[in-house]
């Protein structure tokens, strides 16, 4: 069996000659999913673009990319483009953005049949309807993309790809922004495609996706392949140190926290029968919650379930529609604080970090030296102080955010998906830091996440927010029960 896609010793460098991809080789075979696993900046997306023959102008590529007999690095643009939709198709990163916002779902599928495969209109229509049905999208043909949920948009994109029915299917971070159940569903559907006899190449940063897909796995780090082999083997017993670290960074493999002391003292934060509607839709129906000093409570919920709203209501960043929030009396408002999901967004973009800490120290009369010791504990080099937020990594920035929050002696910390935008390895360093730092200050932490493994790994108590109500989702072994 010949490979549908063959990449040999692919090198890509930018205009200045900086290498971005250093000798990647891979082959994709029909029926066997291939997963390219790597962190941000590992060069995994470049592999896809090179395969498509759509590298941005200014990048130089060497090596060999053969797609169904066409040499993609040397073929003229027209020849490369002729393969699109016929030999190769792409499942885009965020399907919602990749669908034409002004065209109905069915037309977006049917036009592939009509214009790419040359079917007459009635047949194209019928085929398109069949594809929608296959993917559970019956009845949505007349909808526009914005009327579809994230999962439906992805299925619609898949329907379009099925219509093209190309031998090679590329998927670019297909689970970006999806929560665990939808991530697993997306992976399952890609595996289905492979089982239909297509060569499926998936690029992702998520080990769970690689595991769900099976097939072959290729681990990429800083433009070089560190490990390559069948998923079962690579994910079970990785040979390379980086691969091992990557796998160990999965929250499910973390060492569990030591049994916390029973929380004592008056509640820091109490919510009684909170209600909140957004845009006319009831989001929180009746939520009650008590947090005591030193405990870390995780609230699990899918996107849009209202978990961030809950935290913001507790902090007073939003007004409640009903119910009551009781805070520990006599405590300055800034000692109830927050960590944001997207670290760069939580810093003033034009302010160097030193400046930001400086205004903070002046506002609250904190000696600047205190930040120095804190940075040391959080593993932040002093040189970072003179950078702009955009110039340091997300992990470093989130640690600065933690530093900033802790310097105010918080009694309550609302951590809103604090590690979801971080690479797995970084998450594995930052998340425990959050737990330890909060515990050392005796602050209560409300951790909001969509990742049950992360919640399990960090929290003393795990609650699930579903349809506007909180329910216990089990608890850490040995941890205190109840609400």
């Amino acid at each position: 069996m010949t490979a549908a896609l063959l990449v040999e010793d692919l090198h890509v460098a930018d205009a200045k000659g900086t290498p971005l991809l250093r000798g990647a080789s891979l082959q994709a075979r029909p029926g066997v999913p291939l997963t390219v696993l790597g962190e941000t900046g590992s060069g995994k997306s470049l592999v896809l673009l090179a395969v498509l023959g759509a590298l941005p102008p200014g990048l130089q590529a060497q090596g060999r990319v053969a797609l169904a007999g066409t040499e993609m690095l040397v073929a003229p643009p027209q020849a490369r483009r002729r393969l699109w939709g016929r030999t190769v198709s792409v499942l885009p990163q965020e399907p919602f953005l990749a669908l034409d916002p002004t065209m109905r779902a069915l037309s977006q599928v049917a036009e592939t049949y009509r214009l790419v495969r040359g079917f007459p209109r009635p047949r194209a229509q019928a085929e398109a309807e069949a594809r929608l049905r296959e993917l559970g999208l019956e009845g949505t043909g007349t909808r526009f993309p914005f009327q579809l949920s994230g999962g439906m948009a992805q299925r619609l994109a898949l329907a379009i790809l099925r219509a093209a029915d190309t031998p090679v299917l590329l998927a670019d971070e297909p689970t970006k922004g999806l929560d665990a159940p939808r991530r697993d569903e997306a992976a399952r559907r890609l595996r289905d495609e492979a089982e239909r006899g297509r060569a499926v190449v998936t690029v992702t940063h998520d080990v769970a996706v690689a595991r769900a897909l099976g097939g072959d796995v290729l681990i990429l780090r800083e433009g070089a392949v560190v490990e390559h082999g069948p998923a079962a083997q690579v994910l079970a017993s990785p040979s390379h140190a980086y691969s091992r670290a990557l796998l160990a960074a999965e929250p499910s493999r973390w060492t569990r926290p030591a049994r916390p002391p029973s929380p004592s003292g008056p509640p820091v934060m109490e919510a009684v029968a909170l209600r909140k509607s957004l845009g006319g839709r009831p989001l929180l129906r009746e939520v009650s919650l008590t947090l005591r000093p030193g405990e870390l409570v995780a609230v699990l919920g899918s996107s849009g379930s209202g978990k961030t709203t809950l935290g913001d209501l507790l902090l007073g960043l939003m007004r409640t529609d009903g119910g009551e929030v009781r805070r520990l009396p006599g405590v300055a408002p800034w000692r109830f604080t927050k960590l944001w999901q997207d670290p760069p967004a939580a810093f003033v973009p034009h302010q160097r970090l030193r400046q930001g800490l400086d205004v903070l120290s002046r506002r609250h009369g904190i000696p600047f030296a205190r930040f120095g010791s804190g940075m040391e504990r959080l593993g932040l080099a002093p040189a970072l102080l003179d950078r702009l937020p955009a110039e340091i990594s997300g992990g470093e920035l989130q640690r600065f955010a933690l530093l900033r929050a802790l310097s105010l002696d918080p009694v309550f910390l609302f951590a809103d998906e604090p590690t979801s935008r971080l690479d797995p390895l970084t998450q594995a360093t930052v998340a425990p830091m959050l737990r330890e730092a909060a515990r050392s200050k005796g602050a209560a932490v409300l951790l909001v996440t969509h990742d049950p493994d992360l919640a399990d790994a960090l929290a003393d108590r795990v609650l699930r927010l579903h349809e506007g109500r909180l329910a216990s989702a089990g608890c850490h072994p040995g941890g205190p029960l109840g609400l």
């Binding site: 902090l315 109830f336 967004a345 900033r404």
Partner: protein, 260 residues
């Protein structure tokens, strides 16, 4: 600095220099010599003379200074008023915000020139009502931008962060909103200055301008329009200067606006 921006700066520098230095170096712009009316450009009068025998160059230099001052005053008022109300609306929110936005929408629906004309009719030929009128026509643009940008920034996590960290609204507006707003405002100011120059020129054209003998670019063109066939240079110079001023402002700000 890109080519366009450089060209814009050079144009404005040239015109600004003429406006700044011209009046002290050139003859009195009100000095008339009726027997030398409509002289073509030459060694005595570099840009010729107008219908009253006045030096077009001297008048142009004064007119430039006048136009620049007036446009700057008008846009200054508009920026202060518009930005102030915009920030106020965005930070107050609720009913006050909606009322101000509705006022802005209603103002926007009226042609700017109409507003200026109504205000100027108060005191024909006075400079302050003229700049006030232009400001009245322009504030709403600054208001809309300031309000939208302030709302955007105030909803960002870093503004929320500042509030959570104990900073007051004053700090948030000054340190977080204004720096983001500044480049957009600068672009808008550039276009606003150009528009102000054009609006005053247009007002002069319909007969609501400044008092004689104040040289003003719009009224200079209007006065010389009947003489276009016999004195084309003199009649075109003010119009060209208006175009160059506006062009300079636009080039300077267009580039600013394209920055990421």
């Amino acid at each position: 600095m890109s080519g366009a921006r450089g060209l814009g700066a050079a144009l404005l520098l040239l015109l600004g220099g003429l406006a700044l230095l011209g009046p002290s170096l050139l003859p009195d712009p009100a000095l008339q010599d009726l027997r030398s009316a409509l002289q073509p450009p030459g060694t005595t009068w570099w840009l010729g003379t107008d219908h009253l025998g006045r030096s077009v160059l001297a008048r142009a230099a004064h007119a430039l200074r006048f136009s620049l001052t007036l446009a700057a005053t008008a846009v200054g008022i508009a920026v202060l008023l518009g930005t102030g109300l915009g920030l106020l609306a965005a930070s107050l929110g609720g009913l006050a915000d909606r009322a101000l936005a509705a006022l802005g929408d209603a103002t926007l629906a009226l042609p700017g020139l109409l507003l200026v004309m109504v205000v100027v009719a108060f005191a024909p030929g006075e400079i302050l009502p003229l700049s006030g009128g232009v400001a009245l026509a322009q504030w709403v643009h600054f208001f809309r931008v300031a309000r939208a940008e302030a709302r955007r920034v105030l909803a960002l996590p870093h503004a929320e962060a500042a509030r959570v960290l104990g900073f007051g609204p004053d700090y948030v507006l000054r340190r977080l909103v204004l720096p983001e707003l500044r480049p957009i405002l600068l672009t808008l100011v550039g276009f606003g200055l150009g528009t102000a120059v054009l609006q005053v020129a247009a007002l002069s054209f319909v007969g609501v301008g400044v008092r004689p003998p104040t040289p003003e670019l719009g009224s200079m063109t209007t006065e010389l329009l009947p003489y276009l066939p016999e004195a084309p240079v003199q009649a075109l110079v003010p119009a060209v200067l208006v175009a160059m001023l506006v062009l300079g402002f636009q080039l300077l700000s267009a580039d600013e606006g394209q920055k990421p």
